[in-house]
């Protein structure tokens, strides 16, 4: 037990490499994914589909990098990957948003179904259109050098995506607390009927936009993972980041500022768990148990308060 916890701590914070190349690298996608989930939950949208939106972002960014990677300089290529990844994530979330408004399909179910469809899509991509040239391994070729996102610190793996994540959290914080848009989001999440009657807010439009932004955050995280960490597409590119993101958002009490701390905490947990599996033989899926227990703990702690998502219907 002690040995396992020591391995966990060492893997997360035990050295400068652990901090800058493991913990914070794993926090990068969780920042964007957790923020996306938190924004959606704030508006009463139960987007459980961050995983699928992340994968679509990763697929699109890889496709773009494979398609034109060598022909464009990095300063054009990298922003383009970010935009395309975010658009793909937003599009994937858009399907669920459309199903919700056009047909009244619960987004909890539709986003999860879309997660499975996204998994099938990536499985096909890495064996079909995006497979590496020798056609032996189920993964894409390494993306061109110009499409690889810059590292922030020499000798460490921390990449541009982490800064984008921090930036997104700060922007979301300001928007949510200081602008009319933020007020609309919070009002819709607290009570759709009151937002309509008293606030004169177009609930459908607000909810749809937040849904799309939430998907865009996840898609951007996927693009950043391909550009900054893996440099290639393969099926296991996400160790369940999209689900951990729910815990990130809930632990942060859906507050964009607290997402930063929460994402780093879970990033450390993921990094530490990998080390624990390697050094102490404890399976790293134990992280999922910890994630579930933390969600349940947050729920138990907030009992008798208002529902964390506000009135959904």
């Amino acid at each position: 037990m002690t040995e396992a916890l020591l391995a966990l701590w060492d893997g997360a914070f035990g050295s400068s490499y652990a901090i800058w190349s493991a913990t914070l690298v794993r926090s990068a996608p969780l920042l964007l994914l957790g923020l996306g989930v938190a924004l959606a939950f704030r508006a009463g949208v139960l987007n459980i589909g961050a995983e699928g939106q992340f994968l679509l972002g990763a697929i699109s960014a890889t496709a773009l990098a494979q398609g034109v990677g060598g022909d464009l300089p990095g300063v054009v290529m990298i922003p383009l990957m970010a935009v395309v990844g975010a658009a793909a994530g937003a599009g994937w979330a858009g399907i669920a948003a459309w199903l919700r408004h056009r047909f009244g399909v619960l987004e909890v179910i539709s986003t999860i179904m879309l997660n499975f469809v996204a998994l099938a899509t990536i499985s096909w991509m890495v064996r079909g259109p995006l497979q590496e040239p020798t056609r032996i391994y189920p993964q894409s070729a390494e993306i061109a050098h110009a499409a690889q996102w810059p590292f922030l610190i020499p000798g460490q793996r921390l990449h541009l995506g982490f800064v984008l994540g921090l930036l997104a959290c700060v922007i979301a914080w300001v928007v949510l607390t200081r602008t009319a848009t933020g007020f609309r989001i919070r009002a819709v999440g607290a009570s759709p009927s009151a937002a309509t009657s008293a606030g004169g807010i177009d609930v459908t439009r607000t909810v749809t936009r937040v849904f799309l932004v939430s998907g865009a955050c996840a898609g951007l995280a996927g693009a950043a993972e391909v550009g900054g960490v893996t440099w290639a597409l393969y099926e296991g590119i996400s160790p369940g980041y999209g689900y951990t993101a729910i815990a990130v958002a809930l632990l942060a009490r859906l507050h964009p500022g607290w997402i930063i701390g929460s994402a780093i905490f879970f990033g450390a947990l993921e990094a530490g768990a990998s080390a624990m599996q390697r050094d102490a033989g404890i399976p790293s899926v134990v992280v999922q148990v910890i994630v579930a227990v933390i969600i349940l703990g947050v729920l138990a702690g907030s009992q008798r308060r208002a529902r964390p998502t506000g009135g959904r219907r």
Binding site: L46, I48, L99, R102, F103, G104, V105, L106, V108, I109, S110, I112, M113, L114, F116, V117, A120, T121, S123, W124, R127, G128, Y243, I246, A247, L250, Q277, G281, I282, P283, V285, V286, V287, Q288, V289, I290, V291, A292, V293, I295, L296, L299, A300, S302, Q303, R304, R307, P308, T309, R312, R313
Partner: protein, 303 residues
């Protein structure tokens, strides 16, 4: 044609069987006015419980172990939703993560880090004398596992219980209007506890059936979204027992198409067929808008 059709229909019923267990469990839970999104976590717990118990005491023990694991998971859900009044959707999501994580951890802990696939005592299909020799229907409907035959009994009994007995009426009343049920002197919380635990047992049986009668081994995450599909099946079955069982067959067919594809050698990527049950769920949920007769209490927080 028949050479393809009969194996396809046989696989349809075989894959529909565990789906029907989970969906019927979810049906009873939802009829009490609570949606259990955590069915996925219950099913995977049932898979693992089934594996462990079958290893210890044979296949029959396996089903008991699966049901027990499902009930334990459902107790956590009921405690949070009914006792602590936590959000049912988020509690259900956490339950799913808990089930997937716990079974993955225990599996690798007990059976080694590589998670080597291992066989388990399983139950073979039993041909019912006489009935199994009917053309087409015989090999499809009457050459299945005991768990399928049990459903042939369970579905009509559940339909009768739900619509024709006092207990069934009480359950539906709680699901339609908590306030009216309370006014009528019904113990709402107790009825919901019962409905959720029944759903857990059925979800656990779904998992055990998956391991012991269909796949023959345990793999991490083998529930593969069946808990969420079960929720769609209940919608397609319009919250009725017979309808839910028939809807399960539709989804069994969507899963079984993969086998048909392999046999027929079509030149489509197989991932399309992997995605089919999930796409079908989306299409059907959209198509059934407005026709759904959902219990009214599903729309309000459970307690």
């Amino acid at each position: 044609m028949e050479a393809l059709l009969i194996p396809f229909l046989d696989a349809t019923i075989r894959t529909a069987t565990p789906l029907a267990y989970a969906a019927l469990g979810e049906l009873v839970t939802e009829r009490s006015g609570v949606i259990n999104i955590g069915m996925e976590g219950i099913i995977i717990a049932g898979c693992f419980g089934g594996l462990v118990a079958a290893g210890a005491g044979g296949a029959a023990m396996g089903f008991l172990g699966g049901a027990l694991a499902g009930v334990l998971m459902a107790m956590i859900f009921a405690w949070f939703v009914l006792r602590l009044r936590a959000d049912a959707i988020i509690t259900g999501t956490a339950l799913t993560l808990l089930g997937l994580g716990l079974t993955g951890t225990l599996y690798r802990g007990v059976f080694g880090l590589e998670g080597a696939a291992l066989g388990t005592p399983s139950i073979a299909p039993v041909a019912i004398p006489g009935l199994s020799s009917i053309p087409v229907l015989g090999p499809v409907l009457f050459t299945q596992s005991v768990m399928t035959y049990l459903l042939y009994l369970l579905v009509p009994v559940l339909a009768w219980w739900l619509m024709r007995t006092h207990a069934g009426l009480a359950l539906r009343a709680v699901g339609e209007s908590r306030a009216a049920a309370l006014a009528a002197g019904l113990d709402v919380r107790r009825i919901r506890w019962g409905a959720i635990l029944f759903g857990g047992a059925m979800g656990g049986l779904c998992g055990a059936t998956l391991v012991l009668a269909q796949v023959g081994t345990f793999t991490e995450g083998m529930s593969a979204g069946r808990g969420f599909i079960a929720i769609a099946i209940v919608v397609l079955g319009r919250w009725r027992a017979v309808g839910t069982a028939l809807a399960a067959v539709v989804f069994g067919g969507a899963f079984a198409l993969q086998y048909l594809l392999q046999a027929a050698g079509w030149a489509l990527p197989y991932q399309l067929f992997l995605a089919l049950p999930y796409l079908l769920t989306l299409v059907l949920l959209a198509a059934l808008r407005g026709r759904a007769e959902a219990p009214a209490e599903l729309a309000s927080p459970a307690e």
